[in-house]
Symmetry: D3
Subunit: 254 residues, 6 copies
């Protein structure tokens, strides 16, 4: 099966460059089941990283355009950003199953414990995650989110102290009224830095890697022959442009 | 005070043309309090109407660009689409209070009754509205949404039967377990067709016009000197582009 | 338009005397929009201040009697006590829109942030406020209440330290699991001492003044031609006495 | 033990007269455990029956006054009206345990089934009951309320058809999404007409009689030596008048 | 009336021996109302104490077998373990009302305050209690649970320091966001050590003794002629074995 | 990897006999990924089928005993009954990940739509499923359950009409207020009759097969190296017997 992992940012022009796309493709391919081929693309025109509500929004049309432009067989799509930006839109767009890493992680974590916490990068994203949890109807099992205050691009340079910083930020989620017994890494960069196992050892609770959770969910859906409900996500009316041609000019005007 | 009402679609290229922008500006100005000047702009590059999750997403960057491009004094911004697309993003972007018509309507309706229903245009938008209600934390007072199945652009031709169609679609919301005692018009076109009063007479419950509710909320915030919490919506880091220049090229590639 | 603000306590016999009624009338009139005339009345027979569940209850019949006795044009009524005592009863009684300051404040605050806290005067009122939030169906956005332990009448003598006391009491609402990003002053005396702006500066979050929020809500309802749903609040059957004549004698017996 | 059942209406001046007070005292005494003496008083100045939000409010001060005026030993107090008017106020006022019939019924019913419905007299009271359920935090087990549209005083003349009318009104609560498996009689007059058993036989589900449930709860609390939490309901500050003397005059002024 | 209190563990083979059965019978009989005879049985084959999810499960078939084997009149059954193991199963099995101590305690506590906390023995049981609260639909009034880390059998040797240990463990439940104003002893051994009154004096909030609460609930149901809803708990089809004969052999095989 | 699927009933002595165990092993093996070996065992002493709360309880100790008796490598355990009986107990018992089919199905379905319905065999199991949903904290996405009234063993003879019966029973879940957009087969026999695809075609919504969902979840957990949180499910203290020896004799006594 062919799984397409689309990064809504324009990674190739970011500080990590196109090499990061290849690195992530390699990791995903290594995690995949026998018979799964993973491709990774980024989204020209998207922001270099997604660390605000504005970027959660501006990354979506480039991602849709990148998906429209992609040739080759696709059996499942993964929205390659933890905030699941544009997830519902991609589900309208595509006939294949579409997976969001936050959604997949939360539903995996829910099968490992009673209360799920998230450790992410930026404090400002916590209300965004809280809102996503509410949209998913998962507030009852959500222990809240915590943040190390490091930007996405900066994580890659954090080195050996990163796990300790994550552990320290997560600790309040594990006690008192919140009492998370399971954690989710709240950022794809954390996924691809593979800190889940060491953080889990440090804290003594399962830590879900959202890239791996999303890949497994995609593989499951393809193997079971399932995809999004068309009552929940009716197919897009293709007589309407997905990304209007006039759009480009309009943005250019700005 | 100056209230800027930004339509995230590119209305001027739609079937109703630029005249509709002027018509709406006129209605809003007529509804405004003494001392309020309302301006209405549309968003070049946005879809002609917003009737899907894809369009809820693709309209946001053009709306942000239109706001960035707008010159002249602004004391409050209204996101001129009932699904409040990009509301959080605009709150990051702007220092003035930013109002969403759905949010403003729901909170006004909540002060008139116990359970609020929404009557909208497309069935496919009902899950979108349900999700917004969850994000807003308003599920406890939400009686659900109903839809006439008429497109936004078609509403303008519905003529005299429109109110009867809305009443018929809304009736199930008013009885049984849902038991709405207050309704909200779930589409800005319905707002500007001013069907709220006749629908209210027909059904015997208050019907909130979201354009008027949003305008009143904007005026209230300005008069009280209030705007969005900077803890909830931290200001955008202007060293990062709001709508990346590379974005245009990226979309053009598609 | 004429807005009637009814204080359910008998302020004229309290320590601040009738002058306080005039002072509040002046402040409200100053906050009102052009064209709004505000009148303020108190409720003979009501308690001097409302700081218990008993006083929340005993103030209502005198307020209803004061409303029945009031002559002159009325376009909207504001229940002038933060706990919104008798709000539903007044909505049955009157044909004009009726506004509760707590309700109006919570719904305004909900449009400024994600989680709303309340800072009030007495600890013993916190469960009352919690119960009101549940009745309103607003628990999902409620971060809880905190109290300075100063009585209503004592606030007027608190002087320059009042804002610091309020800030100190509110601080726990802004952090940890509660994480309020918006506050409401939980007492009308705090409203009319106008501490909202200075407390907002102190804490860095919006602080809603409930008297101003209620006035703005009343003005909005009148301008939009809206009032309480008659399904939610059926009109009172006037063949039954509002405040039974025998009532007076009965209380005297006690 | 001595249980005081206080009717917040002025029953003696109503159509059923003082005889109804005696009739209810007799029934309660018959239901009581060995060693329990029940007294029933009404509240001079209260409304003849409680069928609106206004009467839910105006009955409370006369009830408080009647309690203050009552001489003789009291081990527990029952608020003798299904809407539990003034329950929190009486809990502040008294040192003995105070029971509300709706609260007691709901918590008994919750131990007999999964979902509890209420059948009451007036449609207009359904939102009141819904609100009480929210205050009690019992929405998760509440299947909603239904009403025969008969006034409290009229029930006594309904005769043999009353059970059939109640059964017919209740039926929708037992099916579909609501699916009540246990019912509560939503009115004290229904309690004292003893229709619970015949309605239970008719519908095949347990039907709780709120007067009996309240009496049993009061007896339980006394026997276990328990009363309301003083954190939840702090004792009233007796330096403040319960029912202000000025109140009487004030109401007379109106 | 005859109340049967069945202990799902095999107490007679535990460290306290059969004398503990007699001791508990004596306490229950002393707490009972005039006319109530209490019998206490244990469940041969059950675990010596119930301190894990495994023991919550393995105790149920022995309890069902003990109930099937019991001769003599029974008017109500109490499941004698705080986690209410097998409560629904016993309700299917028996025609008499069946009471669970946790359920009875929570519903009694709910009538004494707004927010109920539980103090239990083992930390590992807290998620079990949390889950029971969710099944009961009582999350809205639940302030959470705390634990002293002493095993059930060890409590009996704790002596004079037990109340202080319970008070210290409970203290965090009474403050901050949890703010319990009423407590429940979360273990039957605590019930029969009668620490409720001294803990209540220590903490200043009501403390419910679950054995006494369950007994009072059983007596109430019998006196009111009520039992579990047969819609909620349909009677067991007796053509199917309650505890399969093959079961015994099967377990022996293992 | 080795996945052990344990049926908590004693299938070999039921009407379908040991052949059914082999048939299910064959189907599971056919659904498994490359490299997964599935073994299926039943539980001697368990009931022949699980169609009541009593059987949900009596099946657990035999299942625990069967697991204890099982030799051979195990990487994950699936509790082979839709009601997930004893799921928490097995999670305490085992070091490998333990999967419940209902839990796995609900969390898969949640990634395909917004609202999940369940179609099961017996009406009497609907409250059991409702309770499980509450324990899982998934009420917000749960559209309720419906039942064809056919016993588990009878399903195998239903033949060609089974899908039509399921579709007819499910239809009310898909409309009105419930509005399920995704379904789960609520019984393992339905899983192994493979009606999911034909029911999905009939109804136009995704239908999750719980056996396949559970198997995929088990494979995912093993591949990701994850298992239940030890904070949520502390390991069982092996100094205490899992199924007490006295238990067997005790049940024999009964």
């Amino acid at each position: 099966m062919n799984v397409l992992y689309v990064m809504p940012g324009e990674v190739r022009r970011g500080p990590l460059g196109a090499a990061e796309i290849d690195r992530r493709r390699g990791l995903l391919q290594g995690w995949a089941a026998t018979g799964t081929a993973v491709d990774v693309i980024d989204a020209p025109g998207g922001p270099p990283s997604i660390e605000s509500q504005i970027e959660e929004a501006t990354c979506v049309p480039p991602m849709l355009a990148a998906l429209e432009a992609h040739a080759g067989p696709v059996d499942a799509v993964i929205v390659g950003c933890f905030g699941d930006p544009g997830l519902a839109a991609v589900r309208e767009l595509r006939d294949e199953p579409v997976v969001g890493p936050f959604e997949a992680s939360l539903h995996l974590a829910a099968q490992l414990g009673h209360r799920v916490g998230v450790v992410t990068v930026r404090h400002r994203l916590i209300p965004v995650l809280d809102g996503l949890v509410r949209v998913m109807g998962q507030e009852a099992i959500y222990a809240g989110a915590a943040a190390v205050d490091i930007g996405v691009l900066g994580l890659h340079g954090a080195g050996a102290t990163l796990v300790a910083q994550l552990a320290s930020a997560s600790a309040p989620l594990l006690s008192g009224r919140r009492r998370a017994d399971t954690l989710v890494l709240g950022c794809m960069s954390l996924s691809f830095l593979e800190v889940d196992r060491s953080l889990s050892r440090e804290l003594g609770v399962p830590v879900v890697n959202p890239a791996r959770a999303a890949l497994a969910a995609a593989e499951t859906m393809v193997r079971l022959g399932m995809r999004q409900s068309r009552t929940a996500y009716p197919p897009y009316d293709r007589s309407r442009p997905v990304v209007p041609a006039t759009n480009v000019q309009g943005v250019a005007d700005a």
